[in-house]
């Protein structure tokens, strides 16, 4: 039997060009991005708007095809990881079907993931409990606040206990208490050996939650290192300002 790979996420030289229409010049969103995220760690992607954070997550989630480069999730292809239920993803722009309750929405996702009815129900209950949404599980999504929707997004990302969780701006729209709860959820994911790759604009949170930081700017990796490397660079704020402005 092959040992489990030590890297949960590996990306090599990812390049992605976008074209807004057929006449426009392509715009390079990713310009040779490489990532290596060890298993059981939390990695933060930080950078300015348009630096390529979301595109990187979408390539890893299989929603966007890179023009060149390769990426692996848990030692295999992205498609294989998806088929095996190893990837959870929270999109920055996730909308919800207002007519469903939180429980129904998650149940639908669990069932299309290929879970049978009973395991699906169990997975839904566990996911709702993990994000502290079990009290509002049967309310219609149309009546959810922004913070509750964000929690539901997190619940669907951890639904079925995937090995790799990709979170795009998970703290957006959360109040300080909900944000602290989110930190707790991420901490528990790490404690159970799950790997989290998240994007954030809020540097203190990223510094607190993440074992590793990857700084992106204009589609390029300007810095990648663990907490010690960040500390050696003078802290995350300084690192960010020096590398992106300098």
């Amino acid at each position: 039997m092959n040992p489990a790979p030590s890297l949960a996420i590996r990306a090599e030289s990812l390049v992605k060009n976008y074209r807004t229409d057929w006449r426009s010049h392509p715009w390079r969103a990713l310009d040779g991005v490489s990532l290596a995220v060890p298993r059981g760690t939390v990695c933060g992607l930080i950078g300015s708007n348009g630096s390529g954070k979301t595109t990187t997550l979408k390539v890893l989630a299989g929603l966007v095809r890179a023009d060149s480069g390769r990426c692996e999730i848990d030692g295999g292809s992205v498609a294989a990881a998806q088929a095996a239920g190893k990837v959870g993803f929270l999109s920055e722009t996730a909308g919800w079907s207002a007519h469903l309750s939180g429980r129904e929405f998650l149940r639908g996702l669990a069932l299309v993931s290929g879970l049978a009815r009973e395991p699906a129900e169990e997975a839904v209950v566990t996911a709702l409990r993990r994000v502290g949404l079990d009290g509002a599980a049967d309310r219609r999504l149309g009546g959810y606040s922004k913070g509750m929707r964000q929690k539901l997004g997190l619940a669907q990302a951890v639904l079925g206990d995937p090995a790799v969780v990709l979170l795009d701006e998970p703290a957006a729209g959360l109040d300080p208490r909900a944000s602290a709860q989110l930190g707790g959820v991420i901490e528990r994911l790490r404690a159970r050996g799950r790997t989290v790759l998240l994007t954030s604009h809020f540097l203190p949170q990223a510094a607190e939650w993440c074992d590793r930081i990857v700084l992106l700017e204009r589609g390029r990796v300007l810095f990648a290192g663990d907490r010690a490397a960040v500390a050696a660079a003078g802290g995350l704020d300084r690192l960010y300002l020096e590398r992106t402005l300098g």
């Binding site: 979408k58 989630a61 299989g62 929603l63 966007v64 095809r65 998806q82 088929a83 095996a84 239920g85 990837v87 959870g88 993803f89 999109s91 722009t93 996730a94 909308g95 919800w96 079907s97 207002a98 007519h99 469903l100 639908g108 996702l109 069932l111 299309v112 993931s113 290929g114 669907q156």
Partner: protein, 250 residues
């Protein structure tokens, strides 16, 4: 096909049906269509004589065709473009659901939704005919309803293709409507092809091949042949939609 994939397909269809059912615009279109179709009865006082059943049928069928087309395009655009825009599609697709599975489930749900208009529409037509003393011709109504349903499944295929080609609700709706109009005008294309110069005839012939014709779905045509034609057209348009969607970035 294994049981897991069958179950997944079933759940995908259920989800799409739920979305279609809760689409207020869809219910308004169905209601409006039934009201307008029933309006044929009001014109009774014009006394069409022996042509009355023909008039009733043409009026009701025209209404169902018009509103059915609007329903197919509006619902199709919301189911596909809406799902892509609000990110729900992305959440489903990262769970190992293949893109063509998601798209085909939407088409099936769209066809079922069209049944919500066709079934009561033709039942209503039967009631109108009976009320006017022409009896309730079950076999003829089933035949005509099936032809109409088949025609609308092709429109649903147009709508899905338009949704994956175009970016934006309005552009998708316009493209689907243009395809539907072209199919409606297929006899004109044929006439143009017949009367064109030899050089231009090549172009018209190609256009005739690209655009399906709705002529085969008019009343009186054979059901089996129409079903084969509709399934063939829908398959071609859905296959094209699946190929384009598989390369689309979300």
């Amino acid at each position: 096909m294994n049981a897991g994939r069958m179950n997944r397909g079933w759940w995908l269809i259920q989800q799409a049906l739920g979305e279609a059912w809760h689409l207020r615009a869809g219910r308004v279109i169905v209601f409006a269509a039934l009201v307008v179709a029933a309006g044929a009865s009001v014109l009774r006082e014009f006394n069409f004589g022996a042509e009355e059943p023909r008039f009733l049928c043409d009026f009701a069928e025209g209404t169902i065709a018009l509103f059915g087309t609007v329903l197919a395009i509006a619902t199709g655009v919301v189911l596909v473009q809406g799902g892509l825009a609000d990110g729900v599609a992305a959440l489903v697709l990262v769970r190992g659901v293949r893109r063509h599975e998601w798209l085909l489930a939407r088409w099936v749900a769209l066809c079922v939704t069209l049944g919500w208009l066709v079934l009561p529409g033709y039942f209503l037509l039967g009631l109108l005919l009976a009320w006017h003393g022409h009896g309730f011709p079950v076999a003829a109504l089933v035949h005509a309803g099936a032809l109409m349903f088949l025609r609308l499944t092709v429109v649903a295929g147009f709508a899905l293709l338009a949704c994956v080609v175009a970016r934006g609700l309005l552009l998708a709706a316009i493209l689907a409507l243009a395809l539907t109009l072209a199919a409606q005008l297929a006899p004109v294309l044929h006439w143009a092809q017949q009367h064109a110069s030899p050089a231009a005839r090549v172009g018209w012939t190609m256009l005739e091949w690209l655009v399906p014709s709705f002529v085969g779905f008019e009343s009186g045509h054979g059901l089996l042949r129409a079903a084969g034609y509709a399934m063939g057209c829908a398959a071609i348009y859905l296959a094209a939609a699946c190929v384009i969607f598989s390369r689309r970035e979300l």
